[in-house]
């Protein structure tokens, strides 16, 4: 990709993204193409990071481990559902992921947790997401009992309209009361430490990029 094109892309994306400044956008774009490696060059068109590559990043850089959540995060990034995260999706996603306001993050997290995308987090979805959250006690007859109980506890806490599932309103209200519930069903945001490391690494000393 030539420099002019890159410059233009950077400008466009910076305009659309309020959470990053121009320099940061530039860095992220660079990173994106670095991650893409040779693939883009050869095919000529930018498709983007596929699911595996993206999950790899989530795992290596942000220390995420939960497969399902990582899938969901990928879908969260992949707005056009084409199975690839392209450069603009990358920038936009990261802006929420790293710098999002509470509102943005809530929206993002809710989408991650709403597995079937019906606008509600149902009991089944919760169960699905929480099923690995407890150590299996060999003494217990029903290992799922604890999970079910956790689902009930969560629902009791968050389901304000008592319809047995979480709407975004329920979720938003609960999170505003207690920010800890933002990632109620699994870590889908980077933890502060890896976020800091990531930013420090990517947004290096601007002097190195004097040529921009």
């Amino acid at each position: 990709m030539n420099r002019k094109k890159l410059q233009k892309l950077t400008d466009t994306l910076t305009k659309n993204c309020k959470n990053f400044n121009k320099f940061e956008v530039k860095c992220l774009i660079d990173l994106f193409y670095n991650l893409m490696g040779e693939v883009t060059e050869r095919q000529g068109i930018t498709i983007g990071l596929d699911r595996n590559a993206f999950r790899n990043i989530l795992h290596m850089t942000f220390g995420m481990t939960d497969d399902m959540i990582m899938d969901r995060v990928f879908r969260g990034f992949d707005e056009d559902n084409d199975g690839y995260v392209n450069v603009s999706e990358w920038i936009y996603g990261l802006s929420v992921f790293l710098r999002g306001t509470l509102e943005e993050k809530m929206k993002y997290c809710f989408e991650v947790f709403d597995l079937n995308g019906d606008g509600f987090i149902s009991k089944e979805e919760m169960f699905h997401m929480l099923k690995n959250s407890l150590l299996k006690q060999p003494s217990e007859e029903d290992p799922d009992e604890g999970i079910k109980d956790l689902v009930e506890i969560t629902l009791k806490k968050m389901d304000h309209d008592h319809d047995g599932k979480l709407s975004f309103t329920d979720y938003e209200q609960a999170v505003r009361e207690e920010t800890l519930l933002l990632e109620a069903f699994g870590p889908c945001l980077p933890d502060p430490k890896s976020q800091m490391e990531f930013e420090a690494q990517v947004f290096k000393d601007p002097n190195e990029f004097n040529d921009i």
Partner: protein
């Protein structure tokens, strides 16, 4: 003497070596029985009596050969029986002092000969022959060889129809019967001392079950058998374990410890290896000390149990006693059943049937005599031998036998069995002492199990969940009413505190936040605070103070603020470098002045600083921490924060400052940092707490004049005066009055307070206020009254009455202030009159008798406050009022009873003043004056001084008074004065002798004595003069 059988098994098995039979009641009984048996043997079983022992029984006898008569060949030092065996050897052979006996018949006779010394002989015999049965019957018949031997005997007997064997067999049987009889006999005695058998154990467990269950007050959470099946003998242990004396296994869950798997055996109660997870098998191995019973065991293992036990003590001991009485009967009955059975078993056929009984008996036999040996056999040895012998037995009914107690413990067990109740209450009281009183306090009605269980469940999720589950559980836990003690304690009791503190050590920010949010709430509870410190929570929290996350810092600081309410915690904070870090938190607000992102994070920074100040406030209650804060550079930061306008921030900041202001260093720094100005400014705030803290800070700081002046210059006196009008908030009122007190030490301030009409208000506060307010109010009045106008004002406002009323108080600080205030007021003659009228003087001197050493010591040594009182009293002697004078004299009499006071008033010139009063006609005054003089004579050269001030002559005249009291007092005074020669002369010259002589005839003993003493002094002087003259 097969009798010794009883012991034989025991002795050989235990391998005691050369131990002696101890004289115990039980042993004596056994010996008697043995002697009786042997003695009558020759008549009852003549046939068997002739049976010749395989080996002779040998021992040292005390019997004299001369004691033997017919049937014996007696020489000087030897005796031989005429009765001989097949080979012509005598069956009894005595060669002083050694004796050898080879038949029961001879034994019988010997005992007859020994007469009253037969018990001694029997004892000596048994002692010397550890294993008489072996000796009598031969090795094959040794009972140690176990039950199989009886079978062997039978075999032998049936094989060879030898008549001798038959006799031998019979002897063996007879010995065994005796054995059995003795065992039963002693068992009856021992059973009284036994505490553990299946019935007792069962009863204990049932009883404990009674007191178990959910809730805080029960002694245990649960207690259950591991097995539901109960064998017919009452044991629940599998048969192969019953051999080892084990009765049952119990799973006990105390409130504060993990479930314990306990073995109850006849020996006692101990912890076993526990139930294995997979197979449900019990690991039978002993894992703990042996305890005498379940309760003792649990008391040792669970503090909660013993605590609750002590609560239940009365109920429990009652039932316990009952329980203990019941089982005593059980073995008795048992043995009573067994007894006739055993005795009937004389024929060979029944022998086999009895085998089981024998097994059982041998076990008991082996066990019970240990009680009577004062031997301390190594426990292990005993145990291993126990196993050895037991392995050979097949015991179905072993469980019911006596407890195989280790010899060392034997006596202890017996004792404790007797005094079980005593010990129970003893140990419980000890436990109570061990506990920190504030700890483990519980609500009276703490039966809220539903929350308890829910919390327990959540803690389980905390333990076993990943971070998502943990956050949910934490979140849910926070929904409980954490201000409620039940919930707080529930979290602790289910082990939640450990988990919460562990979470602080993780990298998970969310978990830390969640955990701290809970800790912050529950640490309002003093017990929880202690637990947090015990679990090492403080170092972790101190570390979190370094975290880059501001909310984490805040929460950690807030939690520390809650926890550091007691000394140990404060020390821990300091030792882990917490003070420096907390002081660093205060810096946040300042550094936030940096332009970057200031608007976004500003609120948070202030919050961080506030939390830091909160924690410092808590910590600053320790002196070492105050110093640490100063060294960490906390004062400038606090001063800086003081300039902000956030009330929430100001309260902890001012709070910290006022705590620290008790230190000289701080007061200087506070002056230097110009903090007073801000304190004064904040006095005008609307917030009561802030006002209180500011007033407190001023109270602390206003120790020096400069500060007091600063307060005035910054206009702090007016708000202080106006705050006096609001009396609802007593704490604030105490702080405000305290500030006024200290400020009014400066004259200018006192004048100002008058201008602000604070004096009137203060006088109004003299009644109906708590002591801490009163102390300050009176202190303030005392200072203010140094000024004339104020004194007048106090009098006019009617302040004297309440002040005098306060003289009867018992609070030392208050009294010190009151005396000062009264003293200050009394400078005005007019006020003095009022005080006097109000009985204030009497109260004042009664105060001097105050037992409080501080009051006395302080007044005396430093000549400070109370000397003021003494001075006052002495000065009162200048009064014109006879009544006043009389009461002052009475006061002086009392004051002077104390040597130090006497010295003090002497220094204050009491002698001339009293002397001046001597010329009076008022009988009341005369009496008290005379008493005072007599008292004052006790010090130094006062006697002489009274003479010099011409007090003696007038005193003599008092003797002409009509009042008997005056006579007595005067006679006593004269007696004291007459110790001085010059006074004697004066007394004599004034014609006192005649009057005094008349008084010797008085019916008043004191008067008699004093008069006589006085005359004797005069007479002695006269004699001395005469003597001097003639020699």
């Amino acid at each position: 003497m097969g009798v010794a059988l009883t012991r034989s098994a025991q002795w050989t098995a235990a391998g005691y070596g050369t131990r002696t039979l101890e004289i115990t009641p039980l042993n004596e009984v056994i010996l008697k029985e043995i002697a009786m048996f042997v003695e009558s043997f020759i008549y009852k079983h003549p046939q068997e009596a002739k049976y010749v022992f395989v080996e002779p029984l040998e021992w040292k006898t005390n019997l004299d050969p001369s004691a033997f008569e017919s049937g014996y060949i007696v020489s000087e030092t030897t005796v031989k029986s005429e009765e001989v065996d097949k080979d012509g050897q005598p069956l009894l052979f005595l060669s002083v002092p050694h004796i050898k006996i080879r038949s029961l018949g001879q034994l019988s006779r010997l005992l007859l000969i020994a007469k009253d010394r037969k018990l001694k002989e029997a004892q000596a015999c048994i002692k010397a022959n550890r294993d008489p049965v072996t000796k009598i019957l031969g090795l094959d018949y040794n009972t140690v060889k176990e039950d199989t031997s009886t079978v062997n005997i039978l075999d032998k007997i049936t094989k060879d129809e030898d008549p001798e064997s038959e006799i031998k067999m019979k002897v063996g049987m007879l010995l065994k019967q005796l054995d059995l009889y003795l065992l039963n006999h002693s068992l009856k005695r021992i059973s009284l001392q036994i505490c553990l058998n299946p019935t007792t154990v069962k009863n204990h467990i049932e009883l404990l079950k009674h007191f178990s269950g959910k809730g805080e007050q029960t002694v245990l959470e649960s207690i259950d058998y591991t097995s539901d099946y109960e064998f017919s003998n009452g044991c629940r242990a599998p048969p192969w374990r019953q051999i080892h004396g084990e009765i049952c296994y119990v799973l006990v869950k105390p409130h504060d410890v993990e479930t314990l798997c306990v073995t109850c055996s006849t020996e006692g109660v101990f912890l076993n290896g526990g139930k294995t997870e997979d197979e449900g098998e019990i690991n039978y191995e002993r894992k703990s000390e042996m305890y005498k019973d379940l309760v003792t065991f649990l008391k040792e293992k669970s503090a909660k149990f013993s605590e609750n036990m002590s609560k239940q003590d009365i109920r429990f001991t009652e039932e316990w006693k009952k329980e203990n009485e019941e089982p005593k009967e059980v073995p008795k009955k048992e043995e009573a059943d067994a007894l006739p059975k055993a005795f009937l078993a004389s024929s060979k056929n029944i022998l086999e049937k009895n085998q089981i009984n024998f097994g059982k008996i041998q076990m008991t036999k082996r066990l019970e005599p240990t009680l009577n040996w004062k031997a301390t056999v190594d426990f292990k040895k005993h145990k291993s031998l126990l196993r050895n012998t037991q392995e050979k037995k097949h015991g179905g009914r072993l469980g019911r036998s006596g407890p195989p107690v280790s010899p060392g413990r034997a006596q202890l067990v017996r004792k404790s069995a007797e005094k079980i109740e005593e010990i129970l209450s003893d140990s419980s009281s000890e436990n109570e002492e061990d506990e920190e009183p504030p700890d483990r306090r519980q609500e009276a009605n703490a039966d809220l199990p539903s929350e308890y269980w829910q919390i327990q469940k959540l803690v389980k999720y905390l333990k076993g969940g990943n971070q998502t589950a943990t956050v949910i559980a934490l979140r849910s836990m926070k929904d409980f009413n954490l201000a409620q003690e039940t919930c707080q304690l529930a979290i602790r009791d289910v082990g939640g505190l450990e988990v919460l503190i562990n979470l602080l050590d993780t990298d998970e920010v969310k978990c830390k936040i969640g955990s701290l949010k809970i800790l912050k709430e529950i640490s309002h509870n003093p017990q929880i605070r202690r637990n947090i410190v015990d679990l090492g929570g403080l170092p972790v929290m101190v570390n979190i103070l370094d975290s880059p996350h501001k909310s984490l810092k805040c929460l950690a600081a807030e939690t520390i603020a809650n926890v550091a309410k007691f000394r140990r915690a404060r020390r821990a904070v300091r030792h882990h470098g917490g003070i420096t870090k907390l002081v660093a938190l205060l810096d946040c607000a300042q550094s936030s002045a940096k332009p970057a992102q200031s608007s976004l994070y500003d609120a948070r920074d202030v919050e961080v600083a506030r939390c830091g100040a909160l924690a410092l406030w808590s910590c600053s209650k320790s002196n070492a921490n105050k110093e640490a804060i100063r060294q960490a550079g906390g004062i400038p930061l606090l001063a800086h924060l003081l300039k902000t306008s956030h009330e929430n921030m100001l309260i902890p900041v001012v709070g910290t400052l006022q705590e620290c202001a008790s230190e000289e260093n701080y007061r200087a720094a506070i002056k230097a940092e110009r903090i007073i100005e801000n304190l004064v400014k904040n006095l005008n705030s609307e917030n009561e707490q802030l006002q209180e803290q500011c007033a407190m800070a001023i109270y602390q700081c206003a120790e020096d004049k400069e500060t007091r002046d600063l307060v005035r210059l910054h206009g702090g006196l007016k708000p202080l005066a106006s705050l006096l009008n609001n009396t609802d908030n007593k704490e604030r009122l105490a702080a405000v009055t305290g500030a006024i007190w200290k400020c009014s030490i400066s004259k200018e301030n006192a004048t100002k307070f008058r201008e602000y009409e604070a004096i009137e208000t203060l006088v109004g506060l003299l009644t109906d206020q708590p002591e801490e307010v009163l102390v300050n109010v009176v202190g303030a009045l005392g200072e203010c009254c140094q000024e004339y106008e104020n004194r007048v004002l106090v009098r006019k406002c009617g302040g004297l009455q309440p002040l005098v009323n306060l003289l009867v108080g018992i609070n030392q600080t208050l009294l010190v202030n009151v005396t000062k205030a009264v003293g200050a007021c009394a400078v005005e003659p007019e006020s003095m009159m009022i005080i006097d009228r109000l009985d204030g003087v009497r109260l004042l001197w009664s105060l001097l008798k105050n037992p409080h050493p501080d009051v006395k010591a302080r007044c005396w040594r430093n000549g400070s406050l109370l000397v003021g009182g003494l001075e006052l009293i002495v000065n009162l002697l200048k009064s014109d009022n006879k009544e006043v004078l009389a009461s002052v004299c009475a006061a002086i009499t009392n004051i002077a009873k104390d040597q130090e006071n006497l010295a003090a008033i002497t220094d204050l010139g009491v002698v001339p003043l009293l002397s001046k009063l001597a010329n009076t006609n008022n009988d009341k005054l005369r009496r008290h004056l005379a008493e005072a003089i007599s008292r004052c004579c006790m010090w130094g050269r006062n006697r002489v001084a009274f003479g010099e001030y011409k007090a003696v002559a007038p005193l003599v005249r008092y003797l002409k008074s009509n009042d008997a009291n005056v006579h007595r007092a005067t006679a006593q005074a004269l007696y004291q004065l007459s110790e001085d020669a010059d006074n004697c002369i004066t007394i004599h010259e004034n014609g006192a002798v005649k009057l005094l002589l008349g008084m010797i005839g008085s019916s008043d003993q004191d008067l008699q004595e004093a008069a006589a003493g006085c005359i004797s002094n005069i007479r002695r002087l006269a004699l001395a003069i005469d003597k001097a003259r003639y020699t």
